[in-house]
């Protein structure tokens, strides 16, 4: 009468116990991300954001004074990277959180309230999914304007369909479970079933997905800023810094583009690894 729902795993009260780290990669990812967040907060507070030049001569290679060197305007690359970290990491987390909230709500709605609602939601997600994420984000920012907020919203819209689809799919599975049938027999209303039974049991899937979305969001946002439609100068942002540093690399000064690139890689990879770890833990 029902499909099998994974009941062997539950986000139970002893969640803390089950989240014990046992995996060196995941451990490293947590430490790295934690470190980046701490530095992103502390460094700009203590040392400033290096929006203006500190050295008269630009393109100084990495040294003790300037661990990541300086860019062509004489700005310390390390300080700029940390200033950028605030934006990018915050963005990753923000996009993940917003897509999770809105996406799960829409997905659950789509799965619960019948064909008509489902059709509408599905067709809209179909349209959004027809565009590659970057293109969609570009279109949106191009029409709205070059602004970090617009770019962030564009990234949210690009990823929303994925969360909606996944939530809907899992919600439909949960809805066909015997315990939902039992709830109906006990007189539970459709809305209450969605909120008390379906959503909580379906949630772990989009939750894991959102960590991966955080990772991809950082990459997309960096790409948008690289193309000039995201964060505007002089605010530092990894993608923007890479764009500025490309020319310098060709001239032999590799550091203004390399270090922000490295930051993007480390941040995105950390989120991915954490996402994989979460996925394994919750199964």
């Amino acid at each position: 009468m029902a499909t099998v729902v994974d009941t062997s795993v539950a986000l139970r009260g002893n969640l803390a116990g089950r989240m014990r780290l046992g995996d060196p990669f995941a451990y490293a990812a947590f430490v790295l991300l934690g470190l980046m967040i701490v530095l992103a907060v502390a460094v700009p507070l203590l040392f400033g954001t290096a929006d203006v030049a500190q050295e008269h001569q630009g393109l100084l290679p990495p040294s003790l004074d300037h661990p990541f060197g300086t860019d062509k305007y004489g700005r310390d690359v390390f300080l700029r990277c940390m200033s950028a970290a605030r934006v990018d990491i915050l963005l990753g987390l923000g996009v993940a959180a917003v897509t999770l909230l809105i996406g799960t709500a829409l997905g659950a709605l789509s799965a619960t309230f019948g064909r008509a609602v489902d059709m509408v939601v599905m067709r809209v997600t179909d349209i959004l999914l027809a565009f590659p994420g970057i293109i969609l984000a570009l279109i949106i920012t191009a029409s709205l304007g070059k602004n970090a907020w617009f770019a962030a919203s564009a990234v949210v819209i690009a990823f929303l369909p994925l969360v909606v689809r996944l939530t809907r799919s899992k919600a439909l599975e949960v809805r066909s479970a015997d315990f939902v049938a039992a709830a109906r027999l006990s007189g539970t209303s459709t809305t209450r079933i969605a909120v008390e039974h379906v959503l909580p049991n379906a949630f772990k899937y989009p939750f894991v997905q959102s960590t991966l979305i955080a990772s991809l969001a950082i990459l997309d946002f960096a790409a948008l800023s690289f193309l000039g439609v995201g964060v505007q100068p002089p605010q530092a942002e990894w993608g923007g810094m890479i764009a500025e540093g490309v020319g310098d690399t060709l001239g032999g000064s590799w550091w203004p583009a390399f270090f922000p690139g490295l930051m993007v890689l480390l941040a995105a990879a950390s989120f991915q690894i954490i996402g994989d770890w979460l996925d394994r833990r919750l199964r």
Binding site: V5, V9, A10, A181, R184, S186, G187, P200
Partner: protein, 292 residues
């Protein structure tokens, strides 16, 4: 009070293909007795259970309650499912699951707790287990929880959908004994869906045999089990291997027979499949059965 299903037909439409799961089936489920719906896969018995529970709409036919009301209108029908652990919300402690029908019915907290405690005792469940999650319980324990949940609100009819099919042999016997016991103490009626003759033998007062969406025979349990008239019923009972090597086993056929509308090779599909009486309260849908 009696749950009536009259002339139920359920047709599924999938990609333009129509499948008739149930065809013109009528049933009555009453308090204090067990009606067993017996059949193999494709018989439509599961669909009938869903219709009776109100979880599925019949394409044609009526579901109604007849007789004097013995309680509030809500939750007259409850259900116990085949896979006990999956019939409980994995994120809820089982106490909450048992309590839920009472909460939905607006029973105040204190009274609800009293009833839950009482029912827990009656189903033979250790009260300490109420704090556990379904994944921490064995099949037998989880089924006891599910039974408690089903009965705590005092339903008229409980649908038992293969209640012991996924339980171990030794646990099965105890759960069946429990169900029989609870029927006499609560007075609830059971609609038992099963393909297992021994389970049916243990619990059924009356039996209705289904084959490919239709009822082929119905009557008192003893009559159906010991003196079946429809060839399909006979074949079904004979096919069950007896747990005794000394008892000769009938029902063997090495070759795969093609699916026919009539298990006896007749033409009931064309010749009108009404049920004919072959004894007091004993109906058979087979023209050849009435001949002898």
């Amino acid at each position: 009070m009696e749950l009536r299903l009259d002339d139920i037909t359920v047709v599924y439409r999938r990609r333009g293909v129509e499948t008739r799961a149930v065809w013109g089936v009528s049933l009555r489920a009453r308090r204090g007795e067990t009606l067993a719906l017996v059949g193999e896969s494709g018989s439509g018995k599961t669909t009938m259970a869903k219709v009776a529970a109100g979880l599925q709409k019949a394409t044609t036919g009526a579901v109604s309650w007849q007789g004097p009301a013995t309680g509030p209108a809500g939750q007259r029908v409850q259900m116990v499912f085949q896979h006990p652990v999956q019939s409980l919300n994995p994120l809820w402690r089982v106490d909450r699951s048992v309590r839920e029908p009472l909460r939905r019915a607006g029973v105040p907290q204190r009274e609800a707790t009293r009833r839950v405690t009482e029912m827990t005792g009656r189903v033979g469940l250790d009260p300490a287990l109420l704090d556990r999650y379904p994944g921490e319980l064995s099949g037998g324990q989880a089924q006891r929880v599910a039974i408690a949940r089903a009965l705590v609100g005092g339903p008229e009819i409980v649908i038992l959908d293969e209640p012991t099919a996924s339980l171990d042999q030794t646990v099965r016997a105890r759960i069946l004994a429990l169900l029989a016991d609870l029927q006499s103490s609560t007075g609830a009626g059971y609609l038992l869906i099963s393909h297992d003759i021994s389970t049916v033998r243990r619990l059924a007062t009356r039996i209705a045999v289904m084959y490919r969406g239709r009822i082929v025979e119905t009557g008192p349990a003893s009559m159906i089990l010991d003196a079946p008239r429809h060839p399909y019923t006979s074949a079904l009972i004979a096919a069950v291997p007896v747990a005794d090597p000394r008892v000769p086993w009938e029902g063997r056929r090495a070759r795969a027979a093609p699916e026919s509308p009539c298990p006896a090779g007749g033409q009931c599909e064309e010749h009108g499949q009404g049920l004919h009486a072959v004894g007091t309260d004993h109906l058979v849908a087979c023209t050849s059965a009435t001949i002898h």
